[in-house]
Amino acid sequence: MLALVYFAWVRESIGRDEERIERPAPGATVADLIAELAGRGGGYAQALSDPTKLRAAIDQRFVSLDTVIGDAREVALFPPVTGG
């Protein structure tokens, strides 16, 4: 299983802040995961249909969307950060 966590308007659109899914195929990237989740329609499609608005972290490290998920335990999807 792979843990997914969502933040900010990604979380609000999807309507949950975390979930667990079956591990994606070996070689799958974060972008592949996003496309698959967007295919669920509804809030997922609303939140995830435009990957240029999204950023991601794998196991609490920022990664680009073309990063292979590999044996990660947690993938986070969120908008660009606005700290400080």
Partner: protein, 147 residues
Amino acid sequence: MKRIAIQPQDFDVAAELSALESLGGGGVASFTGVVRGEGGLIALELEHYPAMTQGQVDRIVDEAMARWPLLGVSVIHRFGRLEPGARIVFVGTASRHRAAALESCAFLIDWLKSHAPFWKKEHFEGGATSWVAARAEDEAKAQGWKG
């Protein structure tokens, strides 16, 4: 000295500065960010990624300490619901060199803006809300420190 706190409650700026002054460096710089109450804003809600925030800020602070001759760094970032006038973030640095203290302080606040996993939601009078969009300018500033 390295102090990092990610917390909902307010903090004592004087105590933070005092700790940095007592390190003997001679120069202490700070930056404090405060919620602006403009356009009918009644509160800013800060969400963060708890499992990631401390580690990410820790790495940024380590990078600053490797890059400048710093005796101490203190970073405090609040989360939760903050009203206009409330402090959001504090960065304090101590060094023997005033330029090092000031530059590292600027570096840290720029990197917090674009690399700390926080998101801000604005709450306005009348109930409207809006997620603050990241500014390309902030990312450019953080990138400007590279090289």
